[in-house]
């Protein structure tokens, strides 16, 4: 049964040090406010999973929340590199960062296996690449009918899956639309789940292309208007492309980053509603 919570309460109830945590959202509906709340609560040693660890994971890594990153593409989309991510991998700053690296198809199938209650998934993937050599969660499997060799990837079942959606109703049923990425799979694969939403409405009005998560499949819902900024929430606000540009010089410099962290995350009380 999903319960409507304040963001800070939900994060403190659901996310603990050392947890495997997935914040998903493919360009659209990235749960940024929830990520900042995790930083604010000082969580440590997290294994952070995300197909596209962009600015929000750069921030969480820079803030020292992560022990390990599980991912398939780590960049600032349309801008360039993630400098906190690079600094952590290349110079162990602020703490060493272990990585587990996949392709998008591999990560998507790992969440799908997790959501399906299977220990692994099969795909035509990774053939001829150097990734399997460095990633233990990729193996080869043989088709029992044709003998063909394919890739197998192990399931991801995070302790906590966090996504952002446009709406929930007062009972905690969730609706999102537009590009919905791998969010349904993330919630269904996770032991506990948190959905931040733009607004809580009396009734969810069915929409073309919407994905609905019934309340009993979600642990907690928190109303956080603007909770996906600087990414976007279709029907609510556009992507703040300038923010992604402005992040580049901040992320490049440890001191500027620390200053940003102090003024924009640690010493503000965002989100509680």
């Amino acid at each position: 049964m999903s319960r409507i919570r304040q963001l800070d309460v939900a994060v403190s109830e659901l996310v603990g040090d050392g947890d495997v945590v997935a914040l998903e959202g493919f360009t659209h509906l990235i749960p940024v406010a929830a990520g900042h709340e995790i930083i604010r609560q000082g969580r440590r040693d997290l294994t952070l999973c995300r197909m596209t660890p962009d600015v929000i994971y750069d921030q969480m890594i820079g803030a020292g929340c992560a022990r390990k990153l599980v991912f398939s593409w780590g960049g600032n989309p349309g801008v360039g590199s993630l400098h906190r991510f690079r600094d952590a991998i290349q110079h162990s700053w602020p703490v060493p960062l272990e990585i587990e690296e996949h392709s998008h198809a591999g990560m998507a199938n790992r969440y799908t296996a997790g959501a399906s209650g299977l220990p692994f998934a099969v795909l035509r993937g990774y053939a001829g690449t150097d990734l399997p050599e460095h990633t233990e969660s990729i193996k080869t499997i043989e088709c029992p009918f044709t003998g063909e060799k394919l890739a197998a990837v192990s399931a991801i079942n995070p302790d906590v899956g966090i996504i952002h959606a446009q709406q929930a109703d007062r009972e905690g049923n969730v609706q999102m639309w537009g590009i919905t990425g791998v969010q349904k799979e993330t919630v269904l694969a996770s032991k506990r789940s948190l959905v931040t939403v733009e607004e809580i409405v009396d009734e969810l009005e069915p929409r073309p292309g919407s994905v609905v998560l019934p309340k009993w499949a979600v642990t907690a819902v928190a109303e956080v208007p603007g909770g996906a900024h600087p990414s976007y929430a279709q029907g609510y606000y556009e992507r703040d492309n300038d923010y992604y540009q402005r992040w580049d010089p901040i992320g490049r410099d440890r001191e500027r980053f620390q200053q940003w962290l102090d003024t924009e995350v640690l010493n503000v009380e965002r989100s509680a509603r």
């Binding site: 493919f26 360009t27 593409w73 349309g78 392709s103 998008h104």
Partner: protein
């Protein structure tokens, strides 16, 4: 990350006035022309997205654009800044989940053309977008990683590689194989059970390379307008094979250039 802005003037055709254009514009137009009308194209952000949207506005109005965010058959009226811009969902025939776009649409070989680029490409069309220098655990430069590329490289019916050419990026052997081209050459793709043909063209700011039919080594087959073979050799990190019959790319037409420039002006904007 700098944009090539040096303008070159090209030989015109049939007395038409010759527009001025950059080598990057030539590269984008050449990529665009490689897309056949009525086919489906898996589009990444940046130059591939520009080339595909240019094609849709010129010779290939029925080109089907697929972005890995799950948008099938999008018809954006401006250039998206990311592969997941709202305009892509708004104008799509259908928006599907990310697992579905990879499993149901890319993997079975339904997509005719995939576009790839990277930090390094080697003489067999293998691409590196993962690490440069040092070793994997302690790299000199950490790059973003694989994204959708390994499976685009494997499963699209054919792949176009688009990259600016330099000895830093065109290397004898990539530091890390993120996406397989022809592996170690010959029939290595078949040995890996790959269903797609692999990279059929490498389009650069200096011309075009194509794989040798037997060895699969990338061979210079087309020069950009006003580009000399020696320039291309000097920008290539291995002893470059040159085709016996070397052609020259047709310069962009006025129409191509004007549509391209209009397009570029719309990037990421709201319409």
């Amino acid at each position: 990350m700098s944009t090539e802005t040096q303008a070159v003037s090209a030989d015109g055709t049939a007395g038409a006035p010759v527009p001025e254009f950059t080598t990057d514009e030539m590269m984008t137009v050449a990529a665009s022309r490689s897309l056949r009308d009525g086919t489906a194209c898996f589009v990444g952000i940046g130059l591939p997205s520009t080339a595909a949207n240019l094609a849709r506005r010129t010779h290939a109005p029925e080109l089907v654009l697929i972005y890995e965010s799950g948008t099938l058959g999008t018809k954006p009226d401006r250039l998206p800044l990311s592969i997941g811009d709202g305009i892509l969902a708004d104008t799509a025939d259908s928006v599907v989940s990310v697992p579905e776009i990879f499993n149901y649409w890319l993997q079975p070989g339904r997509v005719n053309t995939g576009f790839l680029g990277g930090a390094q490409v080697d003489k067999y069309g293998n691409i590196n977008t993962t690490v440069i220098g040092g070793d994997y655990a302690d790299p000199k430069v950490r790059l973003p990683g694989a994204g959708g590329a390994p499976e685009i490289a494997a499963s699209c019916q054919e792949v176009l590689i688009v990259m600016r050419q330099s000895t830093r990026s065109f290397v004898e052997s990539v530091d890390f194989v993120t996406s397989m081209g022809y592996g170690r050459g010959g029939d290595d793709r078949q040995r890996h059970g790959m269903t797609g043909r692999g990279p059929v063209k490498v389009i650069t700011d200096l011309g075009m390379l194509e794989p040798d039919p037997d060895t699969r080594e990338l061979t210079l087959t087309h020069l950009g307008p006003d580009i000399e073979v020696e320039q291309v050799r000097e920008a290539t990190g291995w002893p470059l094979q040159v085709a016996e019959e070397l052609s020259v790319l047709q310069p962009p037409t006025d129409h191509e250039l004007s549509v391209l420039r209009e397009l570029k002006a719309t990037i990421g904007g709201t319409s």
